[in-house]
């Protein structure tokens, strides 16, 4: 990260927005600095997309403010939008236009002169390796190729802030890796990137992470610091009769009843269990006397444990 000392490129202050009967975003504060990759992570329905739409000005907040380079998104007008690049989660390009035509169209909307467009188009085509598909219609692209095109369209005007909503959703592992390499390259060049993702492994790759749940941030820090501050104990419960689907469900139901168990998730043929440190001795005693098919082994906590523990606590 290069821009820790810089002023925020993107800022949310007390953002609130109600959608129907739910507070989709219920008081969000966050900052993304130039050259920083910030991950907004949370389960489906946590309010990530609404937060992003508020931050790029597609939704009007009920309260609070979003700022880009210190200027309010709601009042910044066209000049502000030139500083922003946004890639929504769903298909948002013209399926009946080709790769090159889509890029040309968005370059026109940003008022790029033809010579500048040609230069940037060539750069982005090379960077994303889309040049082989330039005449292919967007609707005929694979998931990964489409996301690369959407990213290219969002980058044509060289924004200072890039907002991405689940950019690797529906993308194969190879394209996913390529997209991440591309993002690191852009961030190294000083771009401020905010991305929403439901994937913990992706969140762990960000410089800083905000854990979002029910419209609020539960925690915010670097992934390493969040794991380091994790005070509970993580165990892996091996089930020798894991092949029996009923056995794992029964084990899960029994473990959930334990008051010291804070979070629980399936892992391989067993269960990953987060246990309250104060109740750890009690948990081990219970375990020793429990089912003979079970075996316990300690595992190092990871980012997902932190997230599950916080979500369980919040809900």
């Amino acid at each position: 990260m290069t821009g820790a000392a810089h002023a925020p490129a993107l800022e949310a202050r007390g953002l609130r927005r109600r959608l129907g009967i739910t507070d989709a975003v219920a008081g969000l504060d966050l900052t993304v600095r130039p050259g920083e990759l910030y991950g907004l992570v949370g389960p489906d329905g946590a309010g990530k997309t609404t937060a992003l739409r508020l931050l790029v000005g597609l939704l009007v907040p009920d309260a609070g403010e979003a700022r880009v380079d210190g200027v309010s998104v709601m009042s910044g007008g066209p000049a502000l939008r030139e500083a922003l690049g946004y890639m929504p989660q769903q298909f948002s390009l013209y399926g009946d236009l080709s790769v090159a035509e889509n890029m040309r169209f968005f370059a026109d909307l940003f008022g790029l002169a033809p010579a500048i467009f040609r230069q940037r188009e060539a750069e982005l085509m090379q960077l994303t390796r889309l040049d082989r598909f330039r005449d292919r219609r967007a609707s005929a692209l694979s998931g990964g190729m489409y996301k690369k095109l959407a990213l290219s369209c969002a980058l044509l005007h060289r924004p200072r802030v890039l907002v991405l909503d689940e950019p690797t959703n529906g993308v194969d592992p190879v394209s996913r890796r390529e997209l991440w390499d591309l993002l690191y390259q852009l961030v190294d060049e000083g771009l401020a990137v905010l991305l929403a993702t439901p994937y913990m492994d992706e969140a762990a790759r960000c410089h800083r992470v905000g854990l979002m749940y029910a419209g609020k941030l539960l925690a915010e820090d670097t992934p390493a610091a969040l794991v380091k501050g994790f005070d509970d104990v993580t165990w892996l419960v091996h089930l020798s009769d894991a092949a029996d689907p009923g056995a794992r469900d029964a084990a899960e139901a029994r473990l959930r009843e334990r008051p010291e168990v804070r979070a629980l998730s399936p892992q391989g043929g067993g269960l990953r269990v987060v246990v309250d440190r104060a109740g750890d001795a009690e948990f081990r005693r219970y375990f020793a006397a429990a089912d003979a098919h079970w075996r316990l082994s300690p595992v190092a906590p990871d980012f997902e444990d932190v997230f599950l523990r916080l979500v369980t606590h919040a809900s």
Binding site: E101, F110, G111
Partner: protein
């Protein structure tokens, strides 16, 4: 940003939008069909179908008298273009049955004693049975039959007197459409209503599609202003609408013999003002609707009354008094009037100035409110 740079950016954005719209339209074969081919086919079909001329009406004959005089009278009735003999029945009851089951719309009954009455100098009865279901045809057929009876009576009177009696005759001189061909009257109206359907639906659905497919959101995060978007979304269809108007006029002239008596420039001026209302209205519907389906339904809710209250098929003077002033808010009314006046009567700019002013006023109001709504949505 300097003014010059702003203007350049505006031009690049607008041309980019127009090029994209035209590219998408040309690429979509169904859209080209809707915009260019469907209006031509509809004009050809509707132009032939919408025809109020009444001739060769099938007439059933019931000659109860069965005399040389009655046969002569009935032969004369069906000799012209007005009626076509559809068959014969025994009596009035059978003729009534045939009408009540819808076999024929008209029957002429000559009761027993027709020839005897005539010979004795009494009033002879001829009964005409008319199916009033199609009131227009009924009235025209009735008039034609009465005309025939009147002519026959005069001939008989002349025979009896040995010389033609002095008489008064009305000499009608029909101006502008001397053959009273209803197609010539209807085709300009069909053209105006076709433009309404095509442009309103296409712009409304086109904008709703941008919303539905998420592309509008992608546009909204660019510096594109509402005015540029509005112009970019209307100009291509204005162009297509003008081409449609030209094609429709061509077909109207060559196929239906609609005269082009007045200056065509006035028709196109009216057309461009008319298109302002239609395109602005279409975009407004598209902006307010959430889905393409909603926009289509809303468009049809407007199209139906706009056509019915335009004077296209039934005269505005025949509408209820309270309704008539409201039709002044209907752009279709003004466009139909402009087209009929210029094409059929050879009216010039000054003659249709009130209609053009009305079209311009409506166009400006709808165009502006549509642009304001879009600007608000994109602000």
């Amino acid at each position: 940003m300097t003014l010059r740079a702003r203007l350049t950016a505006f031009r690049v954005r607008l041309l980019g939008l127009v090029a994209k719209e035209l590219r998408q339209t040309v690429r979509d074969k169904r859209m080209i069909g809707i915009l260019m081919i469907a209006p031509m086919i509809q004009l050809l079909v509707l132009g032939h179908a919408v025809n109020l001329d009444v001739d060769h009406v099938p007439i059933l004959i019931a000659d109860e008298d069965r005399t040389a005089e009655s046969r002569d009278f009935l032969n004369g009735l069906t000799a012209g273009d007005a009626f076509r003999r559809a068959g014969e029945v025994e009596n009035a009851a059978a003729a009534l049955d045939a009408i009540s089951v819808g076999r024929v719309p008209l029957a002429a009954v000559l009761p027993r004693g027709f020839a005897a009455d005539l010979a004795a100098g009494r009033t002879a009865q001829v009964q005409l049975l008319v199916d009033g279901g199609d009131s227009n045809r009924a009235i025209v057929a009735q008039n034609a039959a009465q005309g025939y009876v009147l002519r026959r009576a005069q001939e008989m009177l002349a025979q009896r007197l040995g010389r033609a009696p002095g008489r008064v005759r009305v000499e009608p001189r029909v101006l502008y459409n001397p053959s009273m061909n209803s197609r010539v009257f209807f085709v300009p109206g069909v053209a105006a209503t076709l433009l309404l359907v095509v442009t309103l639906v296409v712009t409304a659905m086109g904008f709703a599609r941008e919303k539905e497919s998420g592309t509008l959101e992608q546009i909204m995060v660019t510096p594109l202003g509402g005015t540029t978007l509005f112009l970019g979304k209307t100009l291509p269809y204005a162009l297509i609408g003008m081409v449609d108007l030209g094609l429709v006029l061509g077909v109207g002239t060559w196929v239906f013999g609609v005269p082009l008596r007045g200056p065509l420039g006035v028709v196109f001026l009216g057309g461009s003002l008319y298109l302002m209302t239609l395109l602005g209205g279409g975009l407004l519907l598209g902006a307010l609707a959430r889905t393409q389906q909603q926009s289509l339904v809303a468009a049809f809710f407007l199209i139906m009354p706009a056509i019915l209250l335009s004077g296209f098929a039934s005269p505005i003077e025949n509408m209820p008094g309270w309704l008539q002033p409201w039709t002044l808010l209907n752009p279709v009314r003004h466009m139909v009037e402009v087209m009929r006046a210029v094409l059929l009567r050879g009216a010039g700019l000054a003659d249709v100035a009130p209609q053009l002013v009305a079209l311009g006023g409506l166009g400006l109001a709808v165009f502006t409110s549509s642009a304001v709504v879009l600007r608000r949505r994109l602000a």
